[in-house]
Amino acid sequence: MAENPNPTRMELLKAKSRVRLARKGHKLLKQKRDALIMEFFKILSKAQDLRQELNAKMKKAYTALAVAQAYHGMQEIEAAALAVKRAPGVKVEVRNIMGVKIPSLEVAQTKKKLLERGYSIIGTSAKIDEVAEAFEEALDTIFKLSQTENAIRRLILEIEKTKRRVNALEYVLIPRLENQAKLISFRLEEMERDSFVMLKSIKRKLQKAQ
């Protein structure tokens, strides 16, 4: 984009169409930003305080683990862990919101009843049950957290990017293009007046000569 464009009609038309294009882009980006922010608030209400919850749950789980370790030793716990029935997998789907890929999750039940866990309840004590329960709870929170926190982080980054683009268009690019169009049209008008005056004076001179 030249700062001093040629003052021709072609250039004027070009500049005007560029302004129009920029305006259209600006409007679209603004809509995108608003849509993203709406989505963001929808998820935010779900995500509140999940982090703190997870931190608390993990702390509880680690304490339970330490206690169980003191009672049984690591090997016994590991032996029990090997016998645990596997949790069903998760189902991750990727949604696309205005170009932002957001994972959403479907989870089957992670909490199990005492007898469903799979290790021998005779060979182990309640301490190990506590550990398993604490970690199951933590895992549950992790599932909840994973879709919200991740999505929020992505949305925020995208919102920031879009916002910057909107502002760049609104405050820099569009005014500059408009200025350019104005400059060209002024020059054109000036040239028109110039030639008009010139014609007039020539005409006068010709009349005098006759």
Binding site: I37, L44, Q48, R51, L54, N55, M58, K59, A61, Y62, L65, A66, Q69, M74, I77, E78, A80, A81, L82, V84, K85, R86, A87, P88, G89, V90, K91, V92, V94, K101, I102, P103, L105, T110, K112, R117, I128, V131, A132, A134, F135, E136, A138, L139, I142, F143, L145, S146, Q147, E149, N150, I152, R153, R154, I156, L157, I159, E160, K163
Partner: protein, 108 residues
């Protein structure tokens, strides 16, 4: 299709998640853990990768970028036995920067 859950952490954490039923636990650290994480990231069979915060923090910035960019599998940082660490790019800071208002203050 069901996706698998992976855990990359220290051995104690791995045992804990094993008790909770997580099938793929990798008790690794340092370079090996990073490599495993990179490998799991490109594996579409995994839905969630649970990683300790400290491990994620020590990762290469390129790997972190990749984690940010991938939607699936989801990488979830968890606190390890030593407790949570302060995240430099915590959510509230990000929110404040993007929206220009502090949501945590409004809630109080």
């Amino acid at each position: 299709m069901k996706e698998k859950i992976a855990v990359i952490a220290d051995s104690a954490t791995c045992t804990g998640f094993r008790l909770a039923g997580a099938e793929y636990t990798f008790s690794l650290s340092g370079k090996e853990a990073e490599e495993k994480l990179a490998q799991l990231l490109s594996d579409q069979d995994f839905g969630i990768i649970i990683v300790t915060e400290r491990l994620l923090e020590s990762c290469d910035w390129r790997l972190k970028k990749r984690i940010e960019a991938t939607a699936k599998p989801i990488v979830v940082p968890i606190p390890d036995a030593q407790g949570p660490i302060e995240q430099s790019e915590s959510l509230s800071i990000l929110i404040k920067r993007a929206l220009g208002l502090d949501l945590s203050k409004k809630r109080d």
